[in-house]
Amino acid sequence: MILSDYLPGTGLLWRLPPGIKLLALAALGTLLLAVPLLDLAAITFVAVIALYLGSGLGWRVIWGILRPMLLILAIVAGAQWWLFDALSALMVALRLAALLLFASLVTLTTRASDMIAALERALFWLRPLRVNPAKVSLALSLALRFIPVLGSITAEVREAQRARGLERSVIATAVPVIVRLLKMADDIADAIEARGYDPGNETSRSTGETRP
């Protein structure tokens, strides 16, 4: 399960404005970090699970989100146990899992374009700092879109290097991945421009002197 996987639906969570969901996520994160109580972490975790089940998103979806994170949760909880005690480890694991599940719930029930539009509105205060919110929101959208592409490029390169007996070489994987990403970034910039993107008066047209 990746953050960009929106699941179509018509329930209350889908109909809520994205800004409200993002605010709720920020508030929940702040609350859980500011109030380090096991009871609060446990109640929040259970409540988030209830939200999933109440919205028709079953245990399979929940497991799909938690499974890739189990190792990280175990490492974080193990460190807490070693440094403090078992209850502290349980609290941190529940807190992290609740936050992760809630963040995923937001992305599962919100289209990327709606979320980006909400972020663009929320980032209006960046304008006086000469930062264009439209550019920031497009960058976020591109990040969501290309996370899976990055994954498949890395897998392809790894496979190719394994075929050549270079599976242990980080450089043999990293260099071709970086080269392909740079080329891809160039192509994406062209594609965005070709589709009439104009965040202001700034343009990125090539003068034809530098591109291969």
């Binding site: 960009s4 996987d5 929106y6 179509p8 289209r111 990327a112 374009s113 497009l138 959208s141 591109l142 969501l144 879109r145 899976p148 592409v149 498949s152 891809m184 192509d187 994406i188 062209d190 594609a191 965005i192 421009e193 070709a194 589709r195 009439g196 993107y197 104009d198 343009t203 047209r205 090539s206 003068t207 034809g208 002197e209 530098t210 591109r211 291969p212």
Partner: protein
Amino acid sequence: MIELRDVTHRYGERVVLRDLSLRLEERRVAVIGGNGSGKSSFARLLNGLQLPSAGQVLIDGLDTRSDGKAVRRRVGFVFQNPDNQIVFPVVEEDLAFGLKNLRLPRDEIRARVDAALARYDLTELREHPAHLLSGGQKQLLAIAGVMAMEPAHIVFDEPTTLLDLRNKRRVARAIAELPQNVVMISHDLELLRDFDRVIVLDEGRIVADDRPGPAIDFYERRMA
């Protein structure tokens, strides 16, 4: 109409297109040539993605140098790799991207997205993550995204290179049905048999400019 006037294009010291002058008035024009012949640079000049080092490129009288924005509204561009062209994570969001850039009213965006989805058999996939589409579906989405913007001309830069036979035929059919003027860069000679005109480039120069039969025969002899 697309017109090139004394166009030369170079990257640093390397000249990739030399003194080209031509008018493209036909509905379907193909450009073929070996690797490094200047085909892709030629395509990129047509919607102002690149500006010529010398000379002028005119699209329906608009100069790509001075009227870049208007030119890009008139000339759609479909790239070789649809993965690098699909900007939004979900199919219908990506279709709407170009339309929002045109600042169309919400209702019209909705109507055009619906029409494009229906036309390319993507309606069932409207809320599908774009990265999970097949290669052919991705290329159709890329074409749909450009088509929805209703440009007068569409430039294709090797649109079938990465596709298998079935998807290649699907995309070829979609291209054949386009009402727009099409300029196609391709290595797929079979795809070009029904075109009105084929231009052969070699080392940045036009070495043949004819109907598909004679032009493709010339190209095959030259590449032999």
